[in-house]
Symmetry: C2
Subunit: 439 residues, 2 copies
Amino acid sequence: MEKINVGLIGFGTVGTGVVKVLQKSGALISERLGAEIVLKRVADHDTTTDRGVTLPDGVLVSDASVIIDDPEIDIVVELIGGTGAAKELTLQAIEKGKHIATANKALLSTHGKEIFSLAADKGVEVGFEASVGGGIPVLKALREGLAANHIDSMYGIINGTANYILSKMKNEGGKFEDVLKLAQEMGYAEADPTYDVDGIDTAHKLALLINIAYGTYITHEDVYTEGIRSINQLDIDFASEFGLTIKLLAIAKSIDGKVEARVHPTMIPSEHPLATVDGAYNAVFMHGDAVGSVMFYGLGAGMEPTASAVVADIIDICRDIKSGGVGRTAPLSTLPAAIKEVELKATEELDIQYYMRFLVTDSPGVLASISGVLGAHNISIYSVIQHERKVGGAVALVIRTHHAMERELRAAVAEIEELEVTKEKVVYIRIEETLGASE
Amino acid sequence: MEKINVGLIGFGTVGTGVVKVLQKSGALISERLGAEIVLKRVADHDTTTDRGVTLPDGVLVSDASVIIDDPEIDIVVELIGGTGAAKELTLQAIEKGKHIATANKALLSTHGKEIFSLAADKGVEVGFEASVGGGIPVLKALREGLAANHIDSMYGIINGTANYILSKMKNEGGKFEDVLKLAQEMGYAEADPTYDVDGIDTAHKLALLINIAYGTYITHEDVYTEGIRSINQLDIDFASEFGLTIKLLAIAKSIDGKVEARVHPTMIPSEHPLATVDGAYNAVFMHGDAVGSVMFYGLGAGMEPTASAVVADIIDICRDIKSGGVGRTAPLSTLPAAIKEVELKATEELDIQYYMRFLVTDSPGVLASISGVLGAHNISIYSVIQHERKVGGAVALVIRTHHAMERELRAAVAEIEELEVTKEKVVYIRIEETLGASE
């Protein structure tokens, strides 16, 4: 049986998962591929730690150039992460005519243009299914299964750490800081949780989803990004009263030739399929002009789920090598020559519903002054909640608006914060009430 | 730009959808493919009805052989349905070296072996994404995205009509017959609903899912099949009391080298993602040894959703033609040479939980006699509900069991039906309480 040689760079959690999956499913994969995938070399600085898997003698090396320089290796799996050495090694491997499989969203959302262009020049493939949604084959769905569709909108829960924290806060209560600490103890959050809780990781992934859906090159810096640090139990509870659930969503919408690209805590209807995606699970909900609403759900991280996607990319590349179809699908689906700039919509131009929470003096006329400011900015009120009474004291007043312009909303917030009755910074959270579903 | 010619046979609902999608997304598809898909001929007996789409003069013909005999047509889209003319035309097209895209689950689950074998001989591809789950790219996920996994289990809601009826009965109440009639009026059910409500269509689709997941050839006749005609409002309500929801599920499980293949009304936990799949939506929930739990959700039928999948298959075949990679993936993922028989588990050997409803005399000792029979068959009781009191009259008694052997359960049911206190045939519905999820 034909053999195809793979070199793996980065023997951490996902790298170990790739070794495990190749070992336990090797025979099955051969029945599906008609070739044997041989893990010829694994490179990592750390060649001594026991990872619970056994490699044949001589496979584990400390120097990645052993892989890059080996003409017998067809596919390089890059699992170092980050945009430093990972970038250099990826470019070197492509330069040598090797195909790439990677889980590196930071690398591809930042340097995708350079990497994909070089890959096109050298006639090699770059698979990156594992970079968004872990084991969920969502990039393949977008690139192939939905290739006949204009994608109207995408809504993703694509960071397991943030979703774990928000689910826990909703289901069991607790302050953000405490739940984060718990998540860190449980291994669901890293010691430095910045990438996850501040939405940066989600923005990296959204950039990749957008680049595939719309055939463009944006980076995470083009994505408006807010994290979940300011989410408060109070807002989770008020959301429930409105029948809404707070999720950290990656949102892309294509409207009138402009694309919205944003990551922020979002209130969505609690009965929507995305609202029930709990814990470390991820899901991407999309609307295509032909297919209507579709959703892809699964584990967005973890050793073997992520390895499932990396090995699927390896199998895909092997199927292309074996059949002579290398390059059959461009990394972003759209052919390089057809990739174009898309105009991104400024967040100020958003026209959506908002949740607003004020801490105000409990006195007659307060609602009148706040709604007066909102009205002056063309913001109509959908409903109001004020549960507490503390005559003369400060109470929470919550307003859900009808559709309003974000520019107007921000101006209104600034004015309301100047009012004497306002005792605290105004909290506002965006609401998505339909999520592209027509039903 | 290179042109690839397609011939469409069957200009019904889905055929019209294919024309619409190719017309509105043609430019976009060319950017993703680097070739132009040309719909050269459409064949249908009815060449006069206005379907709301315009074809260039001469494209619509009444004779399918015009397509079969045209050497310039590379891909034949078969959308006639059924296993008669569809089979003949498909085989003829393959014989002439044409690739096939089809939505025909009946054809492929019945004659897949013959069709796929001929396709392998002739070196052509057979795409059938639209045959399961409408627009949801679930076959691609199974064949490619999850190709590194042993599939432990699959649970599918893959008949929109049955799901519409069950959702309606649960959410709004009503008798099966009345809701079916409403579904027929709304266009969600056909005049003859046999295929949908008796589970036959679901069994066709399950056979295809199993053939891909396990590299085998079973037909729908190998699938144990029960429909939803006997589902009663009472059972829906009692299920809710147990926190369960009734769905018509296609179930496959691989346990100890045997495969369970069954379609029947199933009670599942109401908080499970599948339980919230409502109305005409479909979803397939799977568990793979590497990926863990994944779910694919979307519209399982309809003109454009189904066309989305058909056109995705056309694009896939075109990408293979264009790159020189024809035959890169076998229709069932497993290569023909590696396809083998799997041993199916008899339904009598099932070891699961059951819901049982009895109509019994309301008198002391009834529960004792019933539980005595159950106990004699090694069936333990998980919980019991008897709400009504009608001393001397007949009341509903509901029992949820722990895991039990179906063989024993059936024997117990037969004995209980002979008891004098039993006034009606015993109703039993299978329960799946974990659905492969480990969380």
